[in-house]
């Protein structure tokens, strides 16, 4: 079991290092991630949203639905925590004592 997990780790590491060779150099302005929409966000943020901070304008204006979904995730997690941690009366009988 131990050797199997070490083998899997080595395999994943080899795969990741192989995939790394295709990535662009660090800070390359011509990289695909810096090309399509992100220059438009930086150029238009002041005239579209009157917000100089591009992160804020993308978070709350251009991609506002994403933030709405995020609040739904937080709400669901809070409800789940409350439901999991709520002690029910039937639980007290099911707690097993370690028979040592």
């Amino acid at each position: 079991m131990k050797w199997l997990s070490l083998f899997i780790l080595g395999l994943v590491m080899a795969l990741l290092i192989y995939a790394e060779t295709d990535l662009p150099d660090r800070g390359d302005p011509e990289a695909p991630a810096n090309q399509h929409v992100s220059p438009l966000y930086l150029e238009r943020t002041v005239e579209d949203t009157h917000t100089p901070n591009a992160v804020t304008s993308v978070l709350a204006d251009y991609r506002g639905y994403d933030t709405l979904g995020e609040t739904v995730v937080i709400f669901t997690a809070g409800i789940a925590c409350v439901l999991i941690l709520m002690r029910r009366r039937s639980d007290d009988n099911q707690i097993r004592k370690p028979n040592s």
Binding site: E20, R26, P29, S38, P52, I74, I84
Partner: protein, 131 residues
Amino acid sequence: MILEAFTDRYVYFMTVALLIIGLYGMLGKRNLLKKLIGMIVFQTAVFLFFIEGATKFFIENGTKLRGSVPVIDPQLGTDPALYVNPLPHVLILTAIVVSVATTGVALALLLTIHRGYQSLDEKVILERMRQ
């Protein structure tokens, strides 16, 4: 020459190292809390990879300069080459919040498991489940 290649790529090797550490925590450890910590390290590696991907360099008078924070400065103008990419920052802001939420639910589940079986060790829990 080799140093140049190293400074261009070392972030990726650091990310791979963190990913492997997190995966080892999830696969190799038997304590459920340590598995959770491994998961958090894995998530943090992905965050750092994205934030690092936001960096932009530009050349001015022959020197390599780092892009500024993505807040439009009236003195700099709106040239996108001068600022780092804002999109990864936004995505990771969302992802950090989601990761906090999942960590909270996981800790609640661990607390319930510990209440039920008085242990967080995988083997002990499996043994007590069979009884």
